[in-house]
Each structure stands twice: as C-alpha cells, then as structure tokens.
Chain length 237, copies 2
C-alpha cells in the first residue's frame, strides 16, 4: 500500500515534468512561427512580444531542472527512470534554445523593416519555418508516446529542412549579388533562415533523446545531414 | 570504515567526470582555434582533421552522461551533489556544442578557399577567436576551482566579445557592398564570426552552471549582452 502510494506520487512528478515540457514546446513553437510572421509583415509589436516571452521559457527550463533534482533526490530512481528524468532535462534545454532562436529572429525584424522582404523570399522563409515547426510538433508528440521507432523516422526527415535551407541560402546570395542595396537586409534574412534550420536540428536532438530514454542506447549511424550550404561557392573539384 | 570507502569511491567518480570535462574543454578549445587557423591559411587538411575530431567530443558527452546516470543510481546523492552531477552534464553539452561550432567553421574553409580572406578580416577573426577561447579556457579553470564569484566575473566579460563581433559584422557588410564578388565568401565568414561569438555564449552558460552548482541559485540579472549586430542596418529612429 505504502509502495503504491510512493509510486503514484512519483508518477505524478513525472507527469508534471512531461506537462511542463509540452507547455514549453507549445510556447517555443508559437514564438518561432510568430517570429517569421513578424519578419514577413514587419510587425515590430509582435516581435517585441516574442522577445519578452522568451523569459517564460528560461524560467520553465530552470523550474524543470530544480524539480528534476528534487525528484531524483526524493525518489532515488534506478537506471531507466533516471534516463527518463535526465532526458527530460535535455529536452527542456533544447526547447529553451528553440525559444532563443525565435527571439533572435524577432530581434532582426527591426533591421529588415525598412527594406521589406521580397515576396518570393518571404514564401521561402515561411515554407522552411512550416517544415521545421511540423518537425518540432511531431517530435513532441513522439515524446508523449515514447516511440523509439517514430523518433528514428523524425530524425531522418531533418534532411528535407537542410536541403530547403541550402536552396534559400543560394537564393539570398543571388539577391545580394543582383543589388548591393539588398546586402544588409538579406544578411539578416540569412541568419533568420539559419535560425529556422537550427529548429530542425533541435527536433533531431529531441528525437535522439527520446530514443535514448526508451532504449538506453544511442541512435546508430550519422545524422542524415545535407549541409551543403556550408560549402556553397566552393570551387568545383 | 565502510562509509569512508564508499565516500572515496564516489569522490573518484566525481573526479573522473571532472577530468573528462577538462579533456572535452581542451579538445573543444583546440578545434575552435585550429578552425580559425585553417580558415585564414586555407588549410583544408587541418579543416578535415577538425571535422573528424568532432566525433571524439560527441562520444565523450555520451560517456559522461552514461557515467553520471550510473553514479546517481549507485550513490543516490542528495541535493548539492546532484546539482554537481547535473551541472556536469550541462557543461558537457555546452562543450559538445562548442566542438560543433568549430566543425562548422572548418566546413566553410573549402567555400572560402578560392577567394582568400583579406588580411584585415583575418586579423579580426583571429582576435575575436582569441577573446572567445580565453573566455572558454578561463571558465573551465573556474569550473576546476568552483568559484561562484569568478564565474560571475567571466559572465560579465562576454559583452566584449559581442561588441567585437558586431564590429566585424559591419566590416564584412562593407566588404560585400564594395565588391559583389566578395559576397559568397564574406557570407561564410559572417557565419564563422557568428560561430566564434557563440563560443562566448557557451562560456557564459558554463559560468552560470558553475554558479548554480556552487550556490543552488541562478545568477541574478539579465546577461550582459551587446547584441547590436542583430539590428545593424535598422532605420534610425
């Protein structure tokens, strides 16, 4: 009886951590989606809201960390349960970082505002952002279901985001070359595109953490990575 | 007698974790310093070495995580000791990420190779890198000494790196505007500069983690942040 009681209090604590992760995920998603909207529409009020919302994610991550430490100290969980809690801390750190990326994009709204974002580039950024945010949303659903197989599938999908980022990168370079007056704003848009591409990387991290929580092992093989944007402009061999 | 024995085995485990962190720090530092050297000297062989060394950091982080979980499960440490182990995991994650930044810079060596890095920009990147790597080295020394006061001082120094990054950012934009043929290579250099600036942010993270390990509290106040590079080109108010 006493052991059931302890077990259920422990379960409650794990549920609490999971709920907080899901809240962090929802807010991080919203911030990043809003950041691209603010960028495309030159909406500085929305940008300001995103910048101030970031503190909520910072606090949530700290709270999750403090709660996790208390839970470990009180319940003294063994290997699989410890993996769960340590994994939760990793995911909270990834989500906090996703929020930072949204905030960084929001900070660039002011720099781009004067020049406007050409329609085609705006569509490119929106599309990249949609892909990355679906990836983030899906990986958080997988976290709720704890499916190692699904985690593996999500991780494989990151390649698509990287490929789209590379194509946007090339397009931004072309705009800059066509008219030097575009250089400053397109540079900021390059960093925004990179921020969005990084959301995909964090979703990949989360997928790997879920796999680790579930199996105790690391996902085998290199991350699928089409990061040719790093070498765009390299002399042909 | 038995309790002394257990205590000392536990101390050995903590020492092991600390030694691994210090090794990770040394390698991450070296990779990032080498990456800038490879960039400035168009040294693709060195770049290739950095790219393959990154896997060592990835493995070290996983090993630290596995060891930390075993230590927690076996020793069932209480609050302060748990903070120490959880903090060590956070620092390992920061160092793994610093290695990624070095690797990303190394990957851009090929893209920049054909065009060469103008001497003045090379000096700028080297100087930024020196500042960031001193910051990283110093924060790892503070980790060894566990001084909350020194952690606070290191954190305050990040502003200098941010200011130098902003100045390099402006200079790179100028090069691009002067001659559109510089656009592709300067864009890669912009990302390299950003990578180096991010090393400073990770040193700041580590400083905050040391403070947390030592005091159980979060460092008060906003991070000192001169991130005006985000708004370079913003219309004057």
């Amino acid at each position: 009886m006493a052991s059931t009681h302890i077990l259920s209090a422990y379960d409650e604590e794990l549920k609490y951590l999971n709920r907080r992760i899901s809240e962090m995920g929802g807010l991080a998603e919203q911030m990043c989606g809003d950041a691209v909207r603010a960028l495309v529409n030159s909406d500085t009020a929305l940008a300001q809201k995103i910048i101030s919302d970031d503190v909520i994610l910072d606090h949530a991550e700290r709270e999750i960390q403090d709660k996790a430490i208390v839970t470990i100290a009180k319940r003294q969980p063994m290997a699989a349960d410890l993996r769960e809690i340590i994994g939760t801390l990793r995911i909270a750190a990834d989500l906090e970082r996703v929020g930072d990326l949204g905030k960084n994009t929001a900070k660039r709204v002011i720099a781009v505002q004067g020049t406007g974002v050409p329609r085609k580039l705006a569509r490119g950024l929106e599309h990249l952002s949609e892909l990355a945010l679906v990836q983030l949303k899906d990986v958080l659903d997988v976290f709720a279901s704890r499916s190692a197989e699904k985690a593996e599938i999500i991780r494989a999908r990151d390649e698509e985001i990287d490929a789209m980022y590379t194509s946007l990168f090339r397009e931004l370079l072309t705009y800059m070359m066509e008219d030097p007056r575009n250089i400053t704003s397109c540079t900021h848009l390059l960093f925004c595109a990179k921020n969005i591409e990084r959301i995909g990387d964090h979703a990949t991290n989360i997928a790997e953490t879920i796999y680790y929580i579930k199996t105790g092992a690391q996902l085998e093989g290199e991350r699928p990575k089409d990061d040719t944007a790093n070498t765009v402009g390299a002399p042909a061999e």
